[in-house]
Symmetry: C2
């Protein structure tokens, strides 16, 4: 039963699928009809075997000697991710990041549609951001029930994260895309997907620091570094 809509795919594979999708859409726009795993691997700096394995987990099969049909691949990936039919979501916390995500065109291309936003600040209620209405928190439960919303994008300040999540759970939300740095407490069966910008920044910072240790910056800049980093 769990295989009826595609094989089981590993998390790293799923993360790579949107990258394939982006490349394939470009090819499709340019009129290309078939593509080989070798070509995809070159373009994305991946291993060709990995590409084939990733693609095969969506259920698609290629033709030896020929490659894959671009359109078929796009359909397979979209279908595998559930991106072929629109899912509605709400967003909570209309600060900098929340406002940006409201206007982020990428979501619609991925068929996630944010239908409403909420904020604890009563000043924000009644306004619109990127064409999306902002409501006070009191309206949350009612709207979620009425529209059968299951997904919430969480962009509130860290201190309020768990409190808001409790409201979401009470309202019937079953999946949370969590942009806060908080480990949310939810009952079994509720999906929490942590989107950790700080984690990415940490990796970047460390790589920059490693590179500087290997090749120290020019002497005319020495005032900036080299002070207390040694423990």
């Amino acid at each position: 039963m769990s295989d009826s809509l595609g094989k089981v795919a590993k998390l790293p594979t799923i993360r790579r699928l949107p990258v394939y999708l982006h490349l394939l859409r470009g090819l499709q726009g340019g009129g290309t009809e078939r593509v080989s795993s070798t070509y995809i691997a070159e373009q994305l700096k991946l291993d060709a075997v990995q590409v084939r394995k990733d693609l095969s987990s969506t259920g698609i099969v290629g033709k030896p000697r020929v490659g894959f049909e671009v359109t078929g691949l796009i359909d397979a990936i979209e279908s595998f991710l559930g991106w072929n039919n629109t899912t509605e979501a709400i967003l909570i916390g209309v600060g900098n990041l929340g406002s940006a995500l409201l206007g982020y065109a990428g979501f619609m291309r991925h068929n996630l549609s944010v239908v409403a936003a909420f904020d604890a600040d009563p000043q924000k209620a009644g306004t619109e951001i990127a064409g999306k209405p902002v409501f006070p928190m009191e309206k949350l439960a009612n709207l979620v029930h009425r529209l059968h919303i299951r997904i919430c994008i969480l962009t509130v300040p860290a201190q309020q994260a768990q409190g808001v999540v409790n409201l979401l759970l009470a309202a019937g939300i079953t999946a949370i895309w969590n942009f806060t740095p908080v480990a949310l407490h939810v009952p079994a069966g509720v999906i929490v997907q942590n989107e950790d910008l700080a984690g990415g920044l940490a990796v970047l910072s460390r790589r920059v620091r490693d590179a500087e240790t290997a090749h120290p910056p020019r002497a005319d800049e020495s005032a900036e570094g080299g002070d207390d980093a040694h423990h």
Copy 2:
């Protein structure tokens, strides 16, 4: 030499460090002086051994029976990530996401300071967003050189990504935090850190889809799904 500022740490470990940091800062704010790996593991839903291994890669040592000093841990993690002295960066592409990141307070807490933004749209030049000046692309090379900037946050449309990266490379940028879905082409030695929102959304989408397959939604909503997902 490569060990002088901490042991080598795996990428997953580095990604987790900011999560520890957030918890520890909360503890510090509450006046807690010491903490055990067991407690941290409970709070963050991690394995205690993993917590100890992660922490030990920053160079810190705990005391058996006692635990770790909160302040010492914070210092060790910040120092390990290079977050104890401010690094200056620029941002290119002041759209929705770019604007949000300009105002994203999280960066300052992590000691990355965005000093200027750039945009190809001449209408945006001369304005300020979140207190940060927006310049036309022509000023890029000059400012990067003058301020010895090495890090760039890239939030331009996908089509323009590689072209802008070429400008960045010419200007002397050596590290790019890439928010576009494009596999950037850079020479060896230049750091590219891909921050892939679509990847996170893909994982969320797939998990939601899996959950729905296991426990289908109520019958009164059947119009929404179950159409063409079967291959």
